[in-house]
Symmetry: C2
Subunit: 611 residues, 2 copies
Amino acid sequence: MKKHTVIFEPAGKKCTVSDGATLLEAAARAGAGLASVCGGSGICGKCVVVVKDGMSSLGAPSDTEKEFIGPKDGPVRLACESRVHGDVTVYAPPADTLPRKTARKISVNLDPAVKKYSVKINPPSMQDMGQGDRERVTEALEAGHGLSGLSMAYSVLKGLQKTLRDGMWEVTASVWTGREIIRLEPFASGAAYGLAVDIGTTTVAAYLCDLSSGSVLKTFSATNPQAAHGEDVMSRITFAMTNKDGLSVMQGEIRDCINGIIRQTGIPPEDILDMTVVCNTVMHHIFLGIDPSGIGAAPFVQAVSRPLYVTARELGIDINESARIYILPAASGFIGADSAGVLVALRPYSRDEKVLIIDVGTNGEILLGDRDGVYSASCATGPAFEGERIKFGMRASEGAIERVWIDPDTKEPTLETIGNVRPRGICGSGIIDAVAGLFKAGIIDKSGRLRRLETPLTEDLPHTERLRLDADGRPEYVLAWKGQTETGADITVTQADVRAVQLAKAALHAGAKLLMRKMGIERIDRIILAGAFGSYINKESALAIGMLPECAPENISAAGNAAGEGAVLALLNVGKREEAEREAAKLRHIEISTDPGFQEEFLAAMDIPHR
Amino acid sequence: MKKHTVIFEPAGKKCTVSDGATLLEAAARAGAGLASVCGGSGICGKCVVVVKDGMSSLGAPSDTEKEFIGPKDGPVRLACESRVHGDVTVYAPPADTLPRKTARKISVNLDPAVKKYSVKINPPSMQDMGQGDRERVTEALEAGHGLSGLSMAYSVLKGLQKTLRDGMWEVTASVWTGREIIRLEPFASGAAYGLAVDIGTTTVAAYLCDLSSGSVLKTFSATNPQAAHGEDVMSRITFAMTNKDGLSVMQGEIRDCINGIIRQTGIPPEDILDMTVVCNTVMHHIFLGIDPSGIGAAPFVQAVSRPLYVTARELGIDINESARIYILPAASGFIGADSAGVLVALRPYSRDEKVLIIDVGTNGEILLGDRDGVYSASCATGPAFEGERIKFGMRASEGAIERVWIDPDTKEPTLETIGNVRPRGICGSGIIDAVAGLFKAGIIDKSGRLRRLETPLTEDLPHTERLRLDADGRPEYVLAWKGQTETGADITVTQADVRAVQLAKAALHAGAKLLMRKMGIERIDRIILAGAFGSYINKESALAIGMLPECAPENISAAGNAAGEGAVLALLNVGKREEAEREAAKLRHIEISTDPGFQEEFLAAMDIPHR
């Protein structure tokens, strides 16, 4: 059988594989640490690689690959779907730059805020003296394209004369919302780019779009550098309040992060003509350099609740300086621009069925409704689902256990880690799986208590070494022995971990139930899990631990990064901005923590249900 | 008789004067070099001083003083009108910062582009969650002042929360044209300032105005630092074309110059909420950083012919960063924003009488018309009227001979210099006086030729030593002997000087005649001399040399810096901007140099007429 050499850059890892092996298999053999969530099923889209040499040695892209990678993406392939038929060199990006925030395929009528118009202009002569170059351009655009009352950005005016002459009186104007010329290029030019940015508390995702075709060219992802000041929004508020320059430091960090992504796109900054932003209200304030402290305490006042346009110049974002960055509305301190993005992406307000949308990022934001109205609430889930306050918890990055199955008979676990490497800790989806598995295996009871060791083990629950007492005499379950871990220490699930998961899932469940009560409904037709976490969660486990209200499992689905998708939609169709504004303003926000019914629902939701 | 001590700072000059002497007399005695154009007649307003000590030793301001100095100007007096009745210390500003560009008293309905509105705002509570601070402010402004659809500048948004809380929910918004909040201050605050700027090729004048009262608080003046690159606009264009960074260097120079004036005002930059600018088209382009080369050659295309708003932030002007600087329209390469300023200041389009307006700055721009229409033209006067291309010519600054009388009998001259100091050269008004005087004294004939020395002198023209041959054997007239001059050299009027004046005055006269022909009129009802030069010119001399078309002398007047006055009007009344735009667009511009009738008029105007 033929053998081929596969080289993985930048690590320089190398291996030999048989003809027909996938790149993902090659990566495992080479120890290249290529990330894959779905384990090669062609579902997660995480094992993207850039082919540097030997594209012809790989077969044609499969339909699955085409789902994730567009024709304009260049030499990009999905490793799990690409079979090796010759020597290949690929670039496998480091795990932390991988796009965990994947947006679905976008389908929307193309109607961007910035459009391009080419015109020919009459050169000046002694006969029409007194008409300025700017007026020649605006009049030609009015005559040729019906655009009246156009203004011209100062940045365009400065180079106007040269552009007109370079283009021999044929130019292309980029016009913002039919009002202002923000760019002028010589000759006819169709290329127009926009960037949709989702500023998460932990991860920043950006979608580079072609404004002329409406396609998402590429997705970028980076860690929000503010994470150095704390994982959750409250820690960011604290940092801003307790450090003299805390706010401007964090504003600078997110600006630099976004500018870094812009550099990565390789698109000349002046060609990026529009940008939309979604984020929670605290990220929103920090991005704008506005004190977020009011959001942290009652009466939870944000600086601005309606949508906002700010020029790239004023924000120091390195796209076309006269582009106006559009920030989706942050309807309240809890319901941010990210929720507005989720709204337009999933459109609960246009559905007949009652849909529950759960966006479990660092905050647990939920929407419930149908065409008759949508309620919103923010659930204090705490950071357990993000791997925080869990003894061996970690963020969903390389080495995190993200899938757990526990054999009900042997009580032995099967684990899957991000990147298929030795485990370093447990992330949110892993801990939910673990708690569900422990419950199904009878190791924890419905109140969430780990079986006491002195209880005689029945036939149904044979003794397992994995169930033991920790140094303080509290029970814990060993998920991975130290010999198998990256850290050299056992990775365990503690009683406190189970309690943290119970509190988080109860908050979410109770929030959903409270909204159902407000709507006066008993059942939900559909549940959509949005956000990075929602895409990786095992819905059976989530149902098993009672995190979700009752719903037919086949009607539970993940929507990927719906907030980011909303930002893309708002970028590609200016009408979606109005829709976001209108629908965000119509949201009926329920302040859960002060609602008299909440405590009752919360306590009722603490137990793990029998199913 | 009582004696008093007067000290002049910053030079530290000191003298003793009798009771009742004027400060101007004291300055002359002390050798303080205080500028005065009118020689103490209370006409020119140039001998302003700041009283540092002993204000009570000066009498109450005369009516004449009140004409020039407002009640808000502080301890400022006119030296020629202030009589000394005790010891006084005054600050006499250096001559080059003197406001040569004096605007007349301004009378206009106050309706500025930026207005202030105070409002009380409901503090946020848990009941109205979801309303941002911005929306609280805009809704309060709508409810209280009927301002709908207001946007808020990003600069305001950044400090919004602090301002609201500092002011305990009472704030004052500065609103630009009913559209955008560009400043927000805690509590009620009425103070609002604006700056009207006249960027001359040689001199920059600025008028600090109180937008709440409509008064001009103070006038500032500075030399345009671009003068280092040449005196006229063509030299600036050349500098921009022949130096790599020439344009940005000159833009930086004028920006720094204006920012220097802003610092001089002592007003905090953020309190200056509006700015208007007039200037010729070349200055206009350089101020904006736009290549002016198109204006220098046919077809004389400027970048922008309609008015323009650019934020202070974008131009780097140190007033409130969100203020929008308004540049009056530059209708063509020759008819600049300064002409638009002159238009609204003098309003020829609303007059029944046919008025000729001559703005002889470094360019000779003329307007002729009445309510039925106004024609404009630009006359290539050359720089003779600015003291250039005259052998001993100089700008109108200290030591320039600006008044000349020649005794027809003795042929002896009487001179007056700026600052009452020993002469250093001749400025524009002086050379016109000199040519008129030489003609009246019979020393030059109607063709402008200096009498040849060998011609026997008649009784009417006795021999004078002042008429002599220069080193090259060409006749010249000695205006001041070296013993009397600052330079230690004779100051003379040469044959070439007379020719330069003839060319300049013929260009102006021919331009006016050509416009009269276009209008189909034989006589002009009124002539207004605008601009710095117009204020200092002796109208009898101007008529004597045939610089002006026929007009009754009593209907010839000076209007001071009408362009600057137009900038002030546009600052104080936003309707004046529309008026300037409308009327500048209606101007019928005649391109003189290519008009077939011009050469004929020009030749006919070369002679010095008999009157």
